[in-house]
């Protein structure tokens, strides 16, 4: 045997990575991310449709509900107070929709046999998923920029310094990144891209509505108030609201006294990191044994 005798094979097995493990992981993830970004540019409809829903929500919530919802500490029907209250919620809901994108994309790759191809290559095991979630992060960031402009146009204002505002957006992006790992796991678990899309979106509605995102928690039944204030999603909304300066002086963010509402920025970071650790582990394990 010449080209690949046993000795060569065994030597290759002893030294399994031409690059160091971490270097290879990062490099492979960037190659996959680049691939997904090229796809994004070639299918701009996906980005555009991804923008329409949040913009529609901003407009509908502001003009339909704005006059009827009393923000604690502000007079009833104060539309400007509601606009400022609402925007962190809309931003946060928008980043969670990255879940559906990641899920559908990965399910599509499974369906088309691309995951098999990747799995037969000597590449890092987590790179396909990491590359996908990184590309989604870029898309989410772009969506947030456009949405922020729309928000400014309809009268949303921040009352904090630029560094704090940027920190608020970083907090939102971290949540979006965490949720795209949930999407990755969904994408690997379902049979079709369509199922990944609906499976990725369905649970987001209760998650984002039983929260402090669109209406103040104090109007909910006591039981739901607890659920809403411990909801990881609420922590990010409250954290972003605080960093944007969209809270009203002297009014506590919490109704039940839940810890995450007392320390929303810290709680949001903890929740997001926890979600990334858990779902990345599960998704990578699933990927290793994925069968189309």
């Amino acid at each position: 045997m010449s080209a690949f005798d046993q000795a060569t094979g065994a030597a290759a097995a002893r030294n399994p990575q031409p690059h160091g493990g971490l270097v290879r992981s990062v490099r492979d993830a960037l190659v996959v991310a680049q691939r997904n970004l090229i796809r994004m540019l070639r299918i701009p409809e996906v980005v555009i449709f991804g923008l329409i829903q949040p913009i529609m929500f901003v407009v509908l919530f502001t003009y339909v509900f704005g006059g009827s919802i009393a923000v604690p500490g502000a007079p009833a029907g104060d539309a400007q107070a509601y606009r400022e209250f609402l925007m962190a919620g809309i931003f946060a809901q928008t980043v969670t929709f990255a879940t559906a994108g990641a899920g559908a994309g990965i399910a599509d790759d499974m369906h088309k046999g691309l995951i098999d191809r990747f799995r037969s290559l000597p590449m890092s095991r987590g790179a396909v998923l990491t590359g996908r979630t990184l590309a989604d992060l870029v898309q989410t960031a772009l969506t947030l920029v456009v949405l922020a402009v729309v928000a400014l146009l309809i009268g949303w204002r921040s009352h904090e310094n630029p560094a704090s505002v940027l920190a608020g957006f970083a907090l939102l992006l971290l949540l979006g990144y965490a949720f795209s790992w949930i999407g990755a796991l969904i994408g690997l678990s379902v049979r079709t891209p369509e199922a990944a899309t609906s499976g990725g979106l369905l649970w987001l509605f209760p998650l984002t509505f039983i929260s402090n995102a669109f209406v103040p928690v104090n109007g909910m039944p006591a039981f739901l108030q607890h659920v809403a204030e411990w909801n990881p999603f609420s922590a990010t909304v409250a954290g972003a609201r605080q960093l944007f300066g969209n809270t009203i002086e002297g009014v506590p963010q919490s109704v039940t006294g839940a810890w995450p509402m007392e320390h929303p920025v810290l709680a949001s970071v903890i929740w997001s990191v926890l979600i990334i650790v858990v779902f990345r582990t599960l998704a990578v394990r699933k990927y290793r044994s994925a069968t189309a």
Partner: protein, 338 residues
């Protein structure tokens, strides 16, 4: 010394279905093994185990001398896989697809680009290199998929039904590419439902059914198992049938068949071309007008029917959607046969 692809006692079950039920393989370096079997026979499962995509429940397999379970990453560096679907990203151009695969084989960006350009030329995709794969025809996608499997010139290749769904012209073109590849020394395991394809490309053939290898050998050896050659004659007029039958009976090694409708006579013989010439002279001297005459050897189709009790075609009709075909098909064929 074990071959470039070696497997012993591979077992893989999916729920109730034993997709692989003790498969042994040994493919010497530089040869082509044609794995022939109906949909659901376990061909794809075998390829998936050998290419590290699936862990076997039992048994061992080594590819290029490396154990697939213990050192999957080393195996992946030595193999190329072209699966049942053209696994290319349709929103990337042909070139971008190949560069991406090259980089994921850990090539530098420059090497990956150079290799992509070479392969695009070789697979006659040069003109379409910078168009998205979405615009490619089925044959072009297959060629691109094959090119992706060849980015690092792997010593061992796996092709799972490479020509399924291609029109005859594209199938022929792909066969030429595969033959060229094998002439260059690549070891190849090829699965197929097309008997003609195995006959044409493979040095050795193993027939798989219900997760077992039920026969193996060269195409000629397999055909010999279903009986030897026979002479087939089609006479011009029905009234010539009795005379022709007499002539053939005199030389036949056993009972034959006479079909008055098609005016065809078929008799088993030994003696090959020399005997055929004698029979022609004899028929001619007795004034029998002949429409067609020939020495027929059994086809792989005959072999398949003899071995499995059903044709490859019939089993294929019982198959399912490609995604679940291997598993669902296994259940279907089992019911169909027993």
């Amino acid at each position: 010394m074990p071959g470039a692809i070696y497997a012993e006692g591979l077992v893989k079950t999916f729920g109730e279905v034993r997709a692989l039920d003790g498969v042994d393989l040994d493919v010497p370096e530089g040869t082509v093994l044609g794995m022939l079997g109906p949909n659901g026979a376990g061909k794809t499962t075998a390829v998936r185990v050998l290419t590290t995509l699936l862990r076997p429940d039992r048994g061992t397999a080594r590819v290029a001398g490396v154990d697939v379970v213990a050192h999957p990453d080393a195996v992946r560096r030595a193999i190329g896989l072209s699966g049942q679907f053209a696994a290319v990203d349709e929103y990337l151009t042909g070139r971008e697809n190949l560069v991406m695969v090259g980089r994921l084989y850990q090539m530098s960006g420059r090497d990956a680009k150079r290799r992509a350009a070479e392969l695009l030329e070789r697979f006659n995709l040069g003109d379409a290199a910078d168009r998205t794969a979405k615009t490619y025809s089925g044959g072009m996608r297959r060629r691109l998929d094959l090119a992706a499997a060849l980015v690092v010139s792997p010593p061992v290749m796996f092709m799972d039904e490479p020509t399924t769904g291609l029109d005859p012209r594209n199938r022929q073109a792909l066969w030429d590419v595969i033959q060229e590849l094998v002439a260059g020394g690549t070891t190849l395991l090829l699965t197929t439902q097309y008997l003609e394809e195995a006959d044409r490309l493979a040095h050795d053939i193993c027939v798989v059914d219900h997760g077992r290898v039920i026969a193996r050998g060269t195409s000629d050896q397999l055909k010999a198992r279903t009986g030897g050659e026979r002479i087939e004659v089609v006479v011009h007029a029905p009234e010539h049938l009795p005379v022709a039958e007499g002539v053939l009976r005199a030389v036949a090694k056993g009972d034959g068949a006479v079909d008055p409708h098609t005016r065809r006579l078929t008799f088993p013989v030994t003696g090959g071309a020399k005997l055929l010439a004698e029979v022609i002279r004899e028929l001619d001297s007795r004034g029998v007008e002949i429409d067609d005459i020939g020495l027929r050897r059994p086809t792989l189709d005959d072999v398949f029917i003899a071995l499995t009790g059903h044709t490859a075609e019939a089993a294929r009709d019982g198959g399912d959607t490609p995604a679940d075909g291997d598993r669902a098909g296994a259940a279907t064929t089992k019911e169909g046969v027993r």
